[in-house]
Structure formats: C-alpha cells, structure tokens
Subunit: 341 residues, 3 copies
C-alpha cells in the first residue's frame, strides 16, 4: 500500500498536516472566499416545467396499533404506518407532496429541507404571516408542499402543528413523521438495501385494556418491554417460534444477504436522547463523517439528528441492534438484523 | 464539473479511498509523526510587548430581567446582558480581560481556551494551589486574565465559582456566560453578520409577582412559554402587532438581508441537552465538519458544546429557529430569523 | 506558509471546494464505487495459526469499593478494577479473551468490535439461537471470545446479560466494562502516555453504613460529592494534604511531564449523557474528526460513544477535567491532570 500510494500521498499528507497545525483554518484563505461563492450557488426555485417533478400523496389519519396484548395506541399517521412511507427523490428534482388531512385536528407537513418558498413551511409562522396560511391544514383540508431538492442525503419530515392542550412534540410523538432519502444524480448503484429506523417514544393516546406492560421507547413504532431479557423469557417458554411471533410486531426485524451492501438511515424524532449500536458489523458513516468507521460502533443521536451508515455483512447471523442508552434497550428499544446466505 | 476537476480528482479520490479502507489510520504513518510535531508547535506565551493585545473589561453585577409579565429574574451578568458581550479577538493576539466583581459573592471568569498560564484558570484549583488564587474574585475585587490566542474559531467563557448552597452550575445558569469569537489572521471577509445564540435554562433566583407562566428554557435569556402555539394565540388576539411586541423581549429575533452570508454561533451552556434547527436555509458547518452541509438541518448540542454554521438566505422570509428537543420549543425555546430584501 | 504550500494547496483547495458545493457527494461518483469495494474488503476470520494471537484472561467477581467514608459499593468487576484493565491489541491480530465467571449470576463479555463470529457475541441472542449459547457464561463457567482485529482505534467491552430484576444496564453500571485500544500496525510511536477515562454512574448495590454523601456520577469508579466546592472545603479545613488524600480514592488523578504527547480515551458507559472538558490544553481529536481541534475544548459524550484526543502540555500545572454537564461535576464528576517538569 505504501509503495503504491507513496507519491500520491505526499501532497495529501502535507495538506492534511497543514490543516492540522492550523486547525483547518489558517491554511485556507483562498478556500474561504470559495466557500462564500459556493454557498451562494443556490439554484433558484425552478419552475415545475423545467424540472423533473417527484410527486407523493400523504393522507393524515387516525390509525390504531396493538402495541401490546393489553394496549391499543390510538396513533396518527401519514398513510397508516409509523414511520410514514419513505419519500425518495433525486437531486435536481422538484419534490411535490400533496398532504390531505383526514383527521379532526389541524396538522402540517414540515420537511427539514434547505430550499423552499416560506409558504410551504408548514409551521405556525405561516398562520401569523399569512404567507401559506393553508400549509397549516385544517381538518378536511389539504396543501401541496414543494421543495427544490439540491442536496443529496437523508433528512425527514414531521407534523409542526400544536392544538388545544397538545404541544408540537405531542403531535410528532403520535406518529406523524417519516424519512426523505435524496439520491444523488446519477444515483448510487452499490447499495442493495436501505433500512430506515426512526427512534422515538410512544404518543399520549394509549388505551390500556387490561394490566400489562406497554412499550414506551420505540423503533419504527415498536417496542418490547423487558428488552432482550423479555425475548429470552419468551424463548424459554415457547421456543424460537414464540420469538418469531414478535417479529415486526414488537421488534423491528430487517433482513439482508451475505455480501450485500446495506445502508441504514437512523433518525431520532423522539423527546429523549438515544444512540444506536449494531452488533458485529463494521459501520462506515455516510453522513456526518463520510467514509470513516463509526467509533465504538455506536451512533450518537441527539434529538432531531440522524446518521446514515453502510455495512457489508459477510456471514449468516442474527445480530441485535438497540439503543445504547441501555435502559432504553431494556425497556424495549431493540431490533434484529438477520443475515442470510 | 467532472471534466474540469477530473485530473485533479484522481489523487484525491485515491487518497480518500485509501483513508476509507483503513479507517483513516493505516495509510498515514508519516502523517502521525507530523501530528506529533504539529501538536508540539505551541507558540510560547508571548510577552505583551511582542504581541498585539486585545483588551476587554467586564463587570459582574446583579441585573434584573422581566422574563414574563408576572416574574422578575434576579440574574447575574457580565456588563448587564445575557449572554455577556461577545469578545472578538484575532489569532496571534494576547487576549486580556479585566473582570471586576461588583456582586456580593465570589465569582470568576473561566475561558475555554487552549493556552494560558494556570494562574488565569479562574477555578477552585487556583484557591487550592495558591497559584492565581485571586482569579477567584471576591466581592469588590478584580482580576485580569490573559490568554495566548492561537486557534481561530468560536469558544466561550463562564463563571467557575460555587458558593454556599449553590453549585458552579447554579452560578452559570444565573447568566454569567458569553461567547468568544477568534478571527483568523487575516480575518474572513465574506461574513456579513455574526449571530450568537446561547441556549440555557433560567437560574434559581426568579421572583414570581403573580400567577402566570415563566420561561424555563432560554435562548439568549429569553423564552416564551407555550412556544409557537402561544405566539399563534397572541396573533389571534392582538394581530401581528401583538407578536412584534414580543420581539427581543421573550423571543430572540435576528435580521439579515437577501444575499448576505450569515454565520451563526450556537452554544449550549445549560444543564439540559438541546439541539438547534433553523427552518428553510441550507446550513454549512464551519466548526465540527467544516464545509459539510449539516444533516437534517439540525445541530446536536450536548451540554458544553457548540457549532457554527453559515447560510446565505436567498428570499425574504420570516423563518423559525428552535430547539429540536421539541418539548423545549413548546416550552419557549424559539426564535425568529427575518430576511429582508 | 502560503508560499511553501502554495502549489500543493491548489488541487486540495479545488477538491475541497468541489466537495463543499456538492455536499461531499455529487463530486465523487468514482469514489462511491470504491467505497463499495472498500467496504467489501473484509478479511476473512483468519485461523489462529496464521495470525498473531493476543490473549487476555479476565475474571468476573464481586469487588467492594469504599466509595465514601460512609458507604461501600458491592460492585462487580473484571479483575478487581473499575474500569477493567485496558486490553491492547494490534491491527491484524486475533484478540482472544478468556473470561471466567466467578460471580453468582450469569454474565458475558460483549465487545464493540466489527468482525467476529456470532458465537462470540455474548448477548441473549446467543441463548435464543443456540449459536454460542455458552458465551452467556453461567456462574462458575467460562468462555473464550475471539475477534478479528482489523480497524485501529479505541473501543470498549461490557457485560451484556440481564438477570432477575436487573436489566443489562444494571449489570453494566455495577462496573463490568473496560476499554480496548487497537494499535495501528506499525504502532504509533509518538504517544508517551494513554489515559483511559470511563464516565458512568454508580450501580444499584451500595450499602450505606452511616449518614453521608455518596457519589452518583463516576469517572473510573470515583466521585467526590460536592465536586470542586467540596475539594475547596477540604483544603480550607486540612490544607493541601487533605486534598492529596483524596487522590485516586474519590478523584481520578493522572500525571504527565512537560513536552510529552498524551492521548486521552474518554468513554461514556453510563445511562446519563456526559461531556468532557479539560482545562488549559488544546485538544486535537484522534477519533471523530481526526486532527481537528476540539471545539470549545469540550467533547460531547452521548451514551455508548467515545472520543480520543491528544494534547502536549507545555507548562507545569494542576489542571481540572470534569463533566461539562456542570451539575454532574458539582455532584462529583471531576478529576485532576498534573503536569510536572
């Protein structure tokens, strides 16, 4: 390796060295004027006619989930699932999302995007300024939001309305969130699977039908109180079939094949801090420190942040993933990643 | 782009590739010996005579803030504001801060700098070692702190004293903190505005004059209980004038013009975790991952950490910014960024 | 500097510029196909015969610590210390850890490594799948875990078992954790000292013999309730000798000599969020943003994550380090770094 890359390495090494002794800064006077220009190269919001348009329709509605044998969560969803269906779009496109509110409260769709007209913000500011007031959608109404998509990567959307006695946080926790994956143009071809995991906590409207544990910490709307210990107890009582019965009911389970390249998109849209640990697979960051191995195989997930990473599993296995606030895992925040031949 | 940068790209791509497969490490044996040398290139603390000296005077004093119509915060400040005035200094300079304690408790000034004589630490260790014991300033006293400034970037200072029944945390929460912006030499010329936002929580000495909500989570000493919902309610009752009345009283409001390059310096000096989301503007990190777009437009802000970022707003708008621990925003941790033609 | 690095800087600047305007992505189509290949270059688990084997033996046992004059922590340890002895290993080696369980509950050894046979996972999944069921070690049993070490850097291990009434979090908090330092091949030669600090909180089994404060937040198993204020009070009562009495009893104390290069490995294996601030020394990241100065001299430490950094102290001093969730420092999470001539 050293021979092969020796000559090429010299300028890189010197440059990185220079960056190091100067804290990334002193060395880069020309760069900074370019950052300035670069940051100004924001393409204008294009007319739909000039741009490829990617269109989605999402319906906000009440949806019940049996979160345990003893409790029903009267949740709110986009299109019946938690998280909402993932919206995929490509750099350079116009993303157009028609949102229909079939629920009995005002809701909105607020996307963490970097370039859109303020009328599509979907926040109380639209009500106050009168610009895009309809983006706070009353019961029975709808709004079509548009975003100029110019940065690849993963981001997310969520409700940004509050209502009598319920904060915006309560609206989000009730299930109104989802991921947006912005593909590069041309798209990456080497990723065989994308797995989206949204960490959060359960909403306020849970009906307990009888006594029994109810999950609080959730991944993709699921949780198994007692965590791995509970799974072990199920196994001891009912064998592997008892465990399999929980798959994608209380435990999110994802599959891949040996040799595939799998990209995880892990998002914290809860009110608590979380972190994410996957057992047994070297994780390469594809967002916050692109290309670097994730230290100690654990991703920090402060509220409202995300990370994406790729792995290439090389042996058949059933691997755990879980929140590494270990008490959250004990309380149910665990999942399985199954690698098959 | 590919044509233009093609040749240049090759060594970079190969180098980054090499870094990737080795986790930044195996590839860089020469680099490490240079890191060693680099990290040893710490300029000696220069004599004031040889260095340009930047001098500030800060006075610690009791200051009252009407944090709501029903409550007064008997806060403590440097020079009467929360946060303190921002100290600007340039790489290569000696920063000299004269601090006068006009309050009835011992206080200090502790700066998160990387090169200074231990006698300027401003911590209880000064009392214990006897080196710079006076940097823990008794009531009526003063101390002049000095720092050799050799790294550009943003950092902060805060009180580092405790007193009977009050921890260091209580001293800080009472309002004794501020930002230091270390400019590069030569300075960046492309930044039109700097906006400093310190996230924290209210101190212990709040006097409630009558019943009513009091902010707990603060940005720059302000908070509006009920968050955006409360603003909406004010708007419904009093119109836009009612909202404007709150500007820089309970809601921090910052302005910029279309096309300007604006740098935000966002700091968490509270006891709670926070995160920071600005609506509608692509955020480029200028600290933790210099030049990268901030993922999902949200900055994680673990206690005691910071991030800086630049944006170039391209359309007139009133944009929200808020803590993305959404319950904190609901409780008041919101602000407005107004872009004018 | 500009003259010297001028020519070399050009391609770097352009490349970084290109990365900047595209968010690290659009510019790198060739790179991505290489990431794909790179991430697939996972060396097969080698036979022990082909690889240098690094062997350790750890014994799990009950260990008592006098955490205060009035309380005993009936902790659990690997080899009698908290944290466990640091395991050092080199890239390319096979790490083999024989773990003997001399305690009266089932325990395991789970390492945050990226390449190992699922039978060495040391988690309840081993019990459920029957693959490596013995890696959940019953009282009196043992298991020998093996890892193919192919990424340098710092990581950690901890118990991953639960028991009746105790979650996995409780098992970890009782003291069953430690660091793994993976050296590069060839090893770095410029680091004179490694200092490992594990931040956590005290376990559940603390016996209070009489009334008095007991530490809750710990660094390396130690904490001094009252933090710096308490130290100051001890100093006022007993002088410096009283303070020195606390060294490595309630306060972790580390030493270095002027001019040495010291690497800190700071890990959060607790249930609370922490952050880490060292006074007076410029900190260069060696993990998460290799080579960059750590902003505001404070490391964010979300649960389950770590950072490593180097400093080169240049003057004799007694410097504080502490959690910058300042309330945790007030409650005891402080330590001393003493630089000697």
């Amino acid at each position: 390796m050293e021979m092969k890359y020796g000559l090429i390495a010299i300028p890189i090494v010197i440059a990185i060295f220079a960056v190091m002794i100067t804290g990334n800064d002193q060395f880069l006077p020309e760069l900074d004027s370019k950052v300035q220009k670069a940051s100004q190269i924001v393409p204008p919001v294009a007319e739909a006619e000039e741009q490829k348009v990617r269109e989605y329709t999402l319906v906000i509605e009440a949806t019940d989930f049996d979160v345990s044998p003893t409790a029903v969560w009267h949740a709110w969803t986009f299109n019946g699932t938690i998280p909402a269906p993932t919206l995929r779009v490509q750099e350079g496109e116009l993303l157009r999302v028609r949102v229909i509110n079939n629920h009995n409260l005002t809701h909105s769709f607020h996307a963490h995007m970097g370039d859109y007209d303020p009328k599509h913000d979907g926040s109380p500011i639209n009500t106050i300024t009168g610009v895009g007031a309809g983006s706070m959608i009353p019961p029975g109404g709808e709004w079509t939001y548009e975003y100029n998509v110019n940065t690849s990567g993963t981001t997310f959307f969520h409700d940004h309305a509050a209502s009598e006695g319920l904060g915006i946080k309560d609206h989000i926790l009730q299930g109104l969130y989802g991921a947006i994956i912005v593909e590069r143009d041309p798209p990456k071809t080497y990723i065989d699977r994308d797995i989206v995991i949204v960490m959060s906590e359960i909403g306020h409207d849970v009906e307990r039908k009888s006594k029994g544990p109810v999950p609080f910490y959730l991944m993709n709307g699921m949780g198994v109180p007692g965590g791995e210990k509970a799974l072990e107890d199920i196994f001891k009582e009912k064998g592997i079939d008892g465990v399999v019965e929980q798959f994608n009911k209380t435990i999110p389970v994802h599959y891949a094949k040996v040799g595939e390249t799998v990209q995880f998109h892990v998002i914290n849209l809860g009110e608590q801090i979380h972190s994410f640990h996957l057992h047994g697979n070297k994780m390469y960051s594809t967002t916050n420190n692109r290309g670097a191995v994730i230290a100690s195989q654990t991703i920090p997930l402060v509220q409202g942040t995300l990370e994406t990473f790729i792995i290439t599993p090389d042996k058949p296995a059933m691997w755990l993933f879980h929140c590494h606030v270990v008490g959250h895992a004990d309380a149910g925040m665990i999942g399985l990643f199954i690698v098959e031949e």
